[in-house]
């Protein structure tokens, strides 16, 4: 039976890696009590809290954390009319945090995710593992049957061409979850008691040309390499769909990573996911997505980006064009989404002018 680690068991590394180069983005609507448990691992890092829901509510951040907090009023103020691309009343609003960050790396985690334990009972420093994943190459062009060859105790197997052993830069590190698995509503309804207790001690690169469902609960990425593609779409209030924010970002990200020769890893680290959301609420949110994804997946699988798309932004604008052309007929929602994708890039470029590197922002 999977259990979360207790705070006293957590042993922080002597030197927190990348502490001035990584921001932790957390969307929240309730409270941030969960941060107490993560304190030994998170305290050295700067936090960006994106408050969803009622902006008049005060979210208390535990003492000792260095953070900036944005609510809906801040988002509207900072982005003006472009704020329309940021979801309201959905954790998809977290991507605003990616946009305002000034760091190279982002780690995002949900507020119902606790520290997990590995099979030996030791608390897992998820952030440390994500950093290892991001700082070592990926191998998307040929599958290594012993998983990540750059991990301690592993290597490339016989037959792996030497010319492919340098790998490519890793853009995304996708972590997993013990306890409540990330199932869709129908599966949750059929298997309400299923818990993920299997600790799979592997990190692997998802091969080029293969899509996957990217979950935003425990996710890290190189913002400089792929940030602009991490738009979490239009979800929540006023939208016909929910719980497809991270999925949408993941499909866009993978197509672009494949095009630009960047890698996506999945596997370790695990966090302990404590809260199972209501499956009936989830079903209502996901319902359209379940049908739409049958069209969306072939769309992404067949998407080809032209050679002159050499930056993430160019790739993303091109994808938005293709979404408008090919998916609008599925539902007018995609027409709106395509427009929002363009707005997102415009907002990103405004807040992140090329060449500028600034200190952490402050939500005034």
């Amino acid at each position: 039976m999977a259990e979360p680690a207790t705070a006293t068991q957590a042993a922080a590394p002597a030197v927190p890696q990348l502490k001035d180069e990584l921001d932790i983005v957390i969307p929240t609507i309730r409270n941030l009590d969960f941060l107490e448990m993560w304190r030994p691992f998170f305290e050295p890092y700067h936090l960006i809290i994106v408050q969803d829901g009622d902006p008049s509510k005060i979210i208390k951040v535990p003492d000792g954390f260095d953070y900036e907090l944005y609510n809906r009023n801040d988002i509207n103020r900072i982005l003006g009319p472009k704020a329309s691309c940021i979801s309201f009343k959905d954790s998809a609003c977290r991507c605003f945090g990616y946009m305002v960050s000034k760091k190279k790396y982002i780690y995002t985690i949900d507020d119902d995710c606790f520290v997990a334990k590995d099979p030996s009972g030791k608390a897992i420093n998820a952030l440390e593992q994500h950093i290892k994943n991001l700082l070592s190459p990926s191998t998307p062009f040929f599958f290594n049957t012993l998983y990540d060859p750059f991990r301690e105790g592993a290597d490339f197997v016989r037959g792996y061409p030497f010319s492919l052993r340098e790998g490519v830069p890793t853009a995304v590190s996708h972590g997993l979850w013990l306890n409540i698995p990330d199932y869709d509503a129908p599966t949750q309804l059929v298997k309400p008691l299923e818990r993920n207790t299997r600790y799979v001690d592997a990190v692997l690169t998802i091969p080029k040309g293969t899509l996957f469902p990217m979950c935003g609960m425990n996710l890290a990425f190189d913002r400089e390499l792929i940030g602009p593609a991490m738009y979490f779409g239009l979800m929540g209030d006023g939208q016909p769909i929910g719980r497809y924010d991270d999925m949408w970002a993941g499909w866009c990200v993978k197509v672009i990573c494949d095009h630009l020769g960047l890698g996506v890893k999945t596997g370790l680290p695990y966090i302990y996911h404590s809260k199972a959301s209501n499956p009936f609420v989830n079903l209502r949110k996901e319902y359209k997505g379940i049908f739409w994804q049958e069209e969306i997946i072939p769309f992404f699988q067949q998407s080809v980006l032209p050679k002159d798309c050499t930056t993430v932004q160019k790739c993303y604008i091109e994808l938005a064009k293709q979404v408008k052309e090919k998916l609008s007929k599925v539902d007018p929602y995609f027409d709106k989404l395509a427009d929002a994708m363009v707005t997102w890039i415009e907002a990103w470029d405004e807040l992140n002018p090329a060449g500028a590197s600034l200190a952490n922002g402050k939500a005034a």
Binding site: F142, F143, D155, V157, R158, F162, Y183, I206, F212, P213
Partner: protein, 352 residues
């Protein structure tokens, strides 16, 4: 959700590249004794095979091979490739094959791994090559498809090949093992995954299982290195065969799984001596991989045999002039398909 498999639908094929099979078979006895075994003796091996009592097995030696395929074609089956003869003459639907220097492994909890049972589970539950499931094999106990996995892809496809892994001496090439002489694989990764469509992988022959009826002809004893020897570091035949099978499976809409079960591979040989003697295989992979990544099979190829013939044609055209070893491989692939059609039979139903 898995298919029902009876013990008598399975053959366990072991290539005897060394003569003393006693400790190997005795260690595997608790797992193997229920099944029919086919032991194929490497035709180059001079010593008599030592085989303990109590197994239901058939042993094939050089004279059997010569008799069945003719002495000119029997060259296909020397060294590690002797096992392919076993695949050819088997009458069963499923084959499981491990190198004879591999013993049963223990899992993370210390239990003996029933590699046969795991391979059978892999082959009888669907594979999911068209979309990656982040919780790995959705058909294993306690797992399922994750949110965002399209429902139309959840029934999966037939799994034709199951590739297991190795604890202790992992299947690294000679340069890697020579560099890390003391490195041993102690990481037991509790997962089975489907190798995605169009993704190629070096499919080691050390610990595999497959549906003989569906892909038997695609496991080809074709790529023989000039200096091929009696250690895995000195061979590439299985890697070539594995790429061929993956391309064929991708074309025919079949699945390939990798991961569990583990076997324990005993320390044998010296990577540095192998490296001094032979590293042609390492060089050849630089040609082999781009070739297989680009090969496209026509729609008219609807069986494994058809596919192998097409691949052989492509090998001859594109790689034949690069190195004589490829021209020979193309020829061997065609010989193999001919043999398969004349000698290989489909499995007979139980009791016949």
């Amino acid at each position: 959700m898995s298919l029902e498999i009876k013990d008598d639908e399975i053959d366990i094929v072991i290539g005897a590249v060394s003569s003393d099979m006693t400790s190997f078979l005795n260690e595997w006895r608790p797992i193997f004794s229920r099944f029919h075994l086919i032991i194929v003796k490497d035709p180059d091996l001079k010593e008599e095979l030592k085989i303990p009592e109590g197994f239901n097995l058939d042993v094939y030696t050089k004279s059997d091979i010569d008799r069945v395929v003719g002495s000119s074609t029997s060259i296909l089956f020397s060294g590690y490739s002797c096992r392919y003869f076993g695949y050819l003459v088997s009458l069963k639907k499923y084959i499981i094959s491990v190198d004879n220097d591999c013993l049963p492994a223990r899992d993370n909890k210390g239990f003996l791994v029933d590699a046969v049972a795991q391979h059978i589970t892999n082959l009888t539950t669907p594979a999911t090559p068209f979309f990656f499931n982040t919780l790995y094999d959705p058909f294993s106990e306690g797992a399922d498809f994750v949110r965002g996995y399209p429902f139309s892809l959840r029934s999966g496809v037939k799994c034709a090949l199951s590739c297991g892994l190795w604890l202790n001496l992992a299947d690294h090439d000679a340069p890697t093992q020579a560099l890390k002489t003391r490195q041993r694989n102690s990481r037991y990764v509790d997962a089975v995954i489907t190798v995605p469509a169009r993704a190629l992988a070096p499919i080691s022959g050390i610990n595999i299982a497959f549906d003989r009826e569906v892909v038997g002809p695609a496991l080809v004893p074709a790529l023989r290195l000039a200096g091929e020897g009696k250690f895995r570091w000195e061979t590439m035949e299985d890697i070539w065969s594995g790429m061929c099978v993956k391309v064929v499976c991708d074309h025919l809409g079949l699945g390939v799984k990798s991961g569990l079960p583990y076997v324990w591979r005993t320390d044998r040989g010296d990577a540095i001596s192998s490296l001094k003697k032979e590293w042609e295989g390492v060089k050849l992979m630089e040609e082999v991989v781009p070739f297989f990544q680009s090969v496209r099979l026509p729609r008219t190829a609807t069986t494994a045999e058809d596919c192998v013939v097409e691949v052989a044609k492509a090998v001859k055209e594109q790689l034949g002039s690069t190195d004589p070893v490829f021209a020979r491989a193309a020829g061997a692939m065609l010989d193999w398909v001919k043999l398969w059609k004349s000698v290989g039979s489909s499995s007979s139903p139980p009791g016949v």
